[in-house]
Amino acid sequence: MRKEILRLENICKTIDGVKVLKNVSLNLYEGETVKLYGDEGRSLSSIVGLFGGVIKPDSGRIYIDGKEIKLASPLDGKKAEISIIHKKSDLIPNLTVMENLFLERKNYARGLFLKEKKQRARAVELLEILGLDISPDMMASDLKLEQMQIVQLGKALLDDRKIIIMDHTHILLDKEQIKLFEGVFNELAKRNVGILILAQNLRDFTSVSDRMYIMKEGSIIGNLMTSEMEKDKIIQMIAKDYYSEKSGIYLNQTSEEVLRVEGLSTKNMLRNVSFSLNKGEIVSITGSYGSGKYEVGYALYGMERTLGGKIYLHNKRIKIKNPSDAIKRKIVLLSFEKKENGLLYNLSAKENITISRLGNISNFAIIRKELENWLIKTVYNDLSLNIEDDNIAIEGLSLVNQRKVSLARAISCNPDVLILIDPTKGLENESKKQILELLVSFSDRGIAILLISSNLHEILQVSHRVWLFSNGTITGCIDRDMIESREQMNILSSFI
């Protein structure tokens, strides 16, 4: 029987009031490659943080080689003989590749002096194995993101450790590079190294994995052997409650076109994106990290410079130079891609809600309190939002109420088009549902919603249509009636 080298037992962790890990238990044997697939990047990242000693679990135990260990600081993480390939490079930017590789390797140093010749030979050899066409003297800061990943892999190889953990969330590796990693992992597995890959993406590394854990909303819902790994089965596991819950959400019928985009392009990302949006319609845009799905929203909102393309609102061509233009045209965007972008912390809930509408509640640039209160009241009624003290600082609200305050701001602008980026990111199930129901209620009253999300769950629940994004353009479209079909599900899953 193979030896168990790593085991997590009932790990729980709450971050910012959200349970990102719920009773997570998993194990890893020597020589085994295990993939942990989940749709919440945050949960996956906190597992990496756990091993790095950056995140302390609220409860639960970690065993390495059968012995319980405590990882209280990054130093403990280093001592625990675990190599981590981070999604953000942990290379030191102003050292060369070689210096980074040998930073912690004592046997390449004699006392205080480095055995440079030996190091160089080894580094050149290693880079060749890794298929990296770079000089060992290159500065780490000059590397491309994916090159950094590979150098980190090299570091892990040099470490010669029993456990390698790879954070593959939000990563851009091309097929060749994935292949390279897979080859190295195969090789390592033969040397009895245990490998744990955390991914948000169903495709990558599935072929080299011996097992796959499926994680949903912070708990592990499945542990599949290679033979059981069928995409649609997994998707169904993830989307299970979609089938059971969708009946609760009724989507209206729509026809009248509100927004049409023709040939939208930006300098870095978007290539010739065209689509249209109807009144009261919820359209989701999804795609992997770096596919350009966020950039569509930003470009429409005037936060990214467009190179070409025409935007029509109610069949009239408009130009949007900046967000305040967009708001004037009744196009509002809320982004929760990063927590701090969605709200103005330090300001009160009230101030947050009315900030985009100050012109309408003031006389000669002086804000009229009674008008402000009236606006707040109206919006609260609209959203059935219930905040006792609206002078409370935003930080004092629960996450879901913070989200609702953002939505309230958007609604206060009376939008025709609402662009939402990751609106339920980091929320708990119950809260997610509240937000999604609000979205549906918005669509009922005729607001066209562009939902840009990487959460399959919410996409399935509330979309009339789903557009699939890759390489900066729309590469697929799934209609509501077709979402349930298996074929479409397969297409969908290949993008996630």
């Binding site: 936060m303 967000p323 809320l334 012109g359 804000i367 059935s384 004092g396 629960s398």
Partner: protein, 371 residues
């Protein structure tokens, strides 16, 4: 108990620093020679008046999440502009040949000089803000460079002369008090009132308070200070408000410069040389957050008060003036620690509040809004 007391001390921004100020003032009052007390208070209140405005000038940039190292240089330039405009060219000898240069000046009415200085201050500040926004260079570099540029310009253009034949009405801002100081003929002044300068500052404070609490401009500047990108998302043209905030900062510097001219009885290039540290200390002690989005106007005055009264206290304690700076520096450190404490406290409150609400939510009140 002690911990709780400490938390309260930090939390009640104004209360805590008011206590410090009151303690210091009590010390001055008890230790001062009684016959000199009213004079001391008048002197102090004038200093406080000027440095409150200097502090507010810094506060205006802190509010948008930036800072202005060139407060003093801006005040100096504005002061000289004001001096040039209102100086009455002196006919005949000024007794000392080297002051003959003060014979230039436009002898315009005093308010023209003041308004012109305020406008110049605003323009210089707005240019600084515009440069920061357009070039995206760190405000540290730009405002640091502007210190030298402005000070150098001031020296080069004016050749370091003094404008000291200023209209009496203008000097009265410094000299007069309300009610008027009574001076029995030839003797010493007996009763004092509130200096005009202090009243000017109170009025400006009310205006600034209105700006941040009642106007669109103020609200949007605060929003910009919280997080520029989040403000952009909310449809605020953050660049414009950063520029305006620097403009307002420049304008307040100019006002402080003009008041200093009145206080010194002469416009000279050295005005503003020592403002920078005090500006940060007053604003931060007063409860303005370093990373923007929160201002405290009354607090700034208390902060300025502490910084000024401490000097008097030290002199009264017969502590060598050579060591005064140590105390000023220590105060500054305390100010920044308080700032840090406040930020930590806000985060702690946030967590606590979220936890309470989570508990409430999971405790049965689920989904009430959608039931």
């Amino acid at each position: 108990m002690i911990k709780k007391g400490l938390v309260n001390f930090v939390k009640n921004d104004l209360a805590s620093i008011s206590v410090v100020l009151i303690v210091l003032l009590t010390f001055v009052i008890t230790k001062s020679n009684p016959s000199r007390l009213s004079f001391t208070m008048v002197s102090l209140s004038k200093d406080i008046a000027i440095f409150t405005i200097v502090g507010m000038a810094q506060m205006a940039t802190l509010a948008v999440g930036q800072f202005n190292l060139a407060v003093g240089a801006m005040g100096g330039v504005a002061g000289m502009v004001c001096g040039y405009l209102i100086n009455i060219p002196y006919e005949g000898s000024m007794n000392v040949d080297t002051y003959a240069q003060a014979e230039i000046g436009l002898a315009l009415p005093w308010y023209v000089g003041v308004i012109a200085a305020l406008i110049i201050g605003f323009i210089v500040g707005a240019i600084q803000g515009g440069m920061i926004v357009k070039t995206k260079i760190n405000p540290f570099i730009i405002t640091l460079a502007l210190i030298s540029v402005l000070h150098g310009l001031n020296m080069a253009v004016t050749r370091n002369i003094y404008f000291r034949n200023l209209p009496e009405v203008f000097k009265a801002i410094n000299k007069n008090t309300i009610p008027a100081t009574t001076t029995p003929d030839g003797g010493q002044a007996t009763t004092y009132g509130v200096p005009v300068m202090f009243i000017v500052t109170l009025v400006v404070m009310v205006v600034v308070w209105m700006l941040y609490n009642r106007t669109i401009l103020g609200r949007k500047m605060l929003a910009t200070g919280v997080n520029t990108r989040a403000a952009d998302f909310a449809g605020i043209n953050s660049g414009r408000y950063i520029t305006l905030a620097h403009g307002i900062s420049g304008m307040l510097c100019a006002l402080a410069g003009v008041l200093t001219v009145s206080k010194l009885g002469a416009a000279q290039t050295s005005i503003g040389d020592n403002w920078m540290l005090y500006s940060f200390a007053s604003a931060i002690l007063g409860g303005t957050l370093l990373n923007g989005g929160k201002v405290s106007i009354f607090g700034t005055m208390i902060g300025a008060g502490i910084m000024m009264v401490v000097n008097t206290v030290l002199t009264l304690l017969k502590i060598s003036a050579f060591s005064h700076q140590i105390f000023i520096g220590a105060l500054l450190l305390i100010a920044f620690m308080l700032n840090k404490g406040r930020e930590a406290l806000i985060r702690q409150q946030e967590r606590a509040a979220v936890k309470v609400q989570d508990d409430v939510q999971s405790g049965g009140s689920k989904n009430e809004e959608f039931a």
